[in-house]
């Protein structure tokens, strides 16, 4: 998809004034936070697992070349095929090639964020294939022609009424008058429509939460069972995976699985956790005849060992989105690309360029809640600051910001001037407030005072107060 991250300010303004979106966001935010808190409170070993999980990812990344090579060797030994892709274009070409060789017409797709990243649906549809998203949330946004707004709950921005209207418009045929009001009715409708698609599909595409080097297995974590149906019923199973998903052993994946479900949905484990290893065996009664894994780099090998290395520990749980005050206020679409929230604000500039993505690292108060809840302890605020630093160095900061920073730096290097100006500002503001202690409105601060008062300075500058206290002991 074409990114619109550069227009974050405008996107955010629209989101804040969208009453339906605000209603959906208000409903979602609290639920995720409470469920995660409850799940973690119920597991005294959580902190120990978090440390162990981080160490597993650090070790896996420090030996990523070895583990990917071992993974490939094991997939091949089990009768599967590994395809390597440096770019989204190469990854889509690999998928198209497999579909063409299989003589496919219809493709059933499980949820895959790397699939969104490489825009595989667009590539497949352009080549004439019918692609059906089978995760309920993904199906909803597919028929709404929208990108996901959350990495684990893609249709979190949609209300029940909006979903019912979408289904009504698309599924409604003469003589078909199934009621579509309650949640069970909506879920049942999707179940009936998609069941036929699973059974008719020639190729199934799923993502991967982990790749196991020891066994050549790919792991998916789902609740609906759509990923398993997509991987079992069609003749060909294609797994899309980014290269940082590799871990050494089944035991290592077991540690990460305990962290993933709790951090994402507050579950101890999801309904279905599946380890796929190769195509169907000679005496199996079902399963695909072909098993392909497309390994996607798309800039990750360049992140390794650099300032954004630790971002590669991300297991895509979405906790940072759920706890971010900015995400909670504007939702995922305002971020303008595939990955929203704090993790998206780090990844997007790396994948679509800092020029396009530069508003995202700036749309943060750096409050640190994302880092605090991250099961992989990724220092997200540190990386957002690094983006800001690079933005300034590369001259991408808009003139107003540059001038303001230059003016501040001029003063900061001249303490006598800074203090003088500070005292003058305090005196002026005190005078202007007319003793009321706060401002209802103020020139150049309209955005602030539109929603709240600005307190007037009390008792002199910080340096003056500091000096006074020093003298009074």
């Amino acid at each position: 998809m074409k990114p619109s991250s550069h227009a974050f300010a405008e996107n955010a303004r629209r989101a804040l004034h969208d009453a339906t979106l605000q209603q959906a966001l208000a409903k979602a935010g609290v639920g995720f936070v409470d469920k995660r808190r409850g799940a973690i409170a119920g597991l005294p070993e959580f902190e120990a697992l978090r440390e162990a999980g981080r160490a597993i990812k650090d070790h896996s990344l420090a030996n990523l070349d070895h583990y990917l090579a071992r993974f490939e060797q094991q997939v091949t030994a089990g009768g599967g095929q590994v395809h390597w892709a440096e770019t989204p274009a190469q990854a889509c070409a690999a998928v198209l090639d497999i579909c063409q060789q299989a003589g496919a017409r219809m493709i059933a797709k499980g949820k895959s964020m790397v699939g969104e990243e490489i825009a595989v649906n667009d590539a497949l549809e352009a080549a004439g294939y019918e692609v059906v998203e089978t995760d309920l949330g993904e199906y909803i946004i597919q028929i709404a022609h929208e990108p996901p707004s959350h990495i684990i709950a893609p249709a979190v921005h949609k209300t029940r009424g909006q979903i019912a209207a979408l289904f009504e418009a698309l599924h409604h045929r003469p003589g078909l008058t199934r009621p579509l009001e309650t949640v069970p009715q909506i879920v049942d409708e999707a179940r009936q429509i998609l069941r036929d698609k699973f059974l008719a599909a020639d190729v199934g595409i799923t993502g991967a939460n982990f790749l196991i080097a020891e066994t050549g297995s790919t792991v998916i974590v789902t609740n609906e069972g759509n990923g398993d149906l997509s991987a079992t019923l069609p003749r060909v199973h294609i797994v899309l995976a980014s290269i940082e998903k590799a871990v050494p052993t089944l035991e290592d994946a077991s540690v990460l699985l305990r962290l993933l479900a709790r951090s994402a949905t507050g579950q101890e484990i999801t309904s279905y956790t599946t380890f796929f290893t190769g195509p169907r065996r000679a005496d199996d009664l079902d399963g695909p005849e072909e098993f392909h894994v497309v390994l996607v780099d798309n800039g990750r090998s360049q992140m390794l060992g650099g300032a954004y290395h630790e971002m590669l520990r991300c297991i895509r749980c979405g906790a940072c989105l759920n706890h971010c005050p900015v995400y909670g206020a504007v939702g995922g679409h305002a971020y303008g690309w595939v990955y929203p929230g704090p993790m998206g604000a780090v990844l997007t500039p790396l994948m679509v360029g800092l020029k396009e993505g530069r508003p995202l690292p700036n749309a943060s108060t750096l409050c640190g809640r994302c880092e605090a809840v991250c099961p992989m302890s990724i220092p997200l605020p540190k990386m957002l600051r690094e983006h800001r630093r690079r933005e300034f160095v590369q001259g991408l900061t808009p003139p107003r910001g540059r001038w303001a920073l230059a003016a501040w730096a001029y003063g900061a290097r001249r303490p006598w001037l800074y203090r003088k100006l500070g005292r003058w500002m305090v005196a002026m503001l005190k005078l202007m407030s007319g003793g009321r202690g706060r401002f209802r409105s103020l020139p150049f601060a309209g955005a602030w005072t539109a929603a709240r008062d600005l307190p007037a300075p009390q008792g002199g500058t910080f340096m003056d107060q500091w000096q006074r206290r020093k003298h009074h002991g």
């Binding site: 995720f32 597991l43 070993e45 120990a48 070790h59 420090a62 030996n63 070349d65 990917l68 071992r70 390597w84 440096e86 309920l136 949330g137 909803i140 709950a153 249709a155 979190v156 029940r160 949640v183 879920v187 998609l194 069941r195 036929d196 080097a213 020891e214 066994t215 050549g216 297995s217 609740n223 609906e224 069972g225 759509n226 398993d228 149906l229 079992t232 290269i243 050494p248 089944l250 035991e251 290592d252 077991s254 101890e268 484990i269 999801t270 309904s271 279905y272 956790t273 290893t277 190769g278 195509p279 005496d283 009664l285 079902d286 399963g287 098993f291 390994l295 780099d297 090998s301 650099g306």
Partner: protein, 215 residues
Amino acid sequence: MVDARAAILGRLAKALRHDTAADAPAVVQRLNEKARGPQPQWPESMRERFLAKLAKVSATHAELGSRAEIVQAVGAYLAAQNLPNHLTAAPHSLLNEVAWPNDWRLEQRRARGEDRLGLAVAFCAIAETGSLMLLAGPDSPTTLNFLPDDFLCLLPESRIVPRMEDAWALLRQERGAMPRAANIVTGPSRTADVEQTIQLGAHGPRRLHVLLLRG
């Protein structure tokens, strides 16, 4: 794609300052050791823990004194759910010798789209999370776990292990290698994609019923 492979692995090796493609000793050791992470603890017995967690994910269970009670337990479930006496069962040794009533229609095969009820046998169960593990193979077609509306799973009590890591150890010991699919199933299918409201039976089974076989 050979070029992409070389380019990606080359960049990784360069960033990590690895001189050769040979596995580092730390990597070989790690793969051989299969070390476990911190293991969650609980006070209850494995059986109690398993059943408590099973109930928490909205699955049900029945207790069977012996294999002779399988027909009765399945019959009771069919009656309770008001289902016809049709079932698709896995061609598993524990089910092969069951004397099904003559007026039941029973087929031992993979599942099809129209099947209402599937019956399979778990490879083992995980007490920590109330999960069943099923391994794809000639005696356990994966479609049975996902296509029918009602999924019945026979579980000998002796096959409950404490944690996922114990299930992997059992798999390595008894099978030696991974099957095409190892399914860890915890409760029926569910979704929260419509307004964060949990709804059972999204695409997979609407109900999961465990037949716990004593002894």
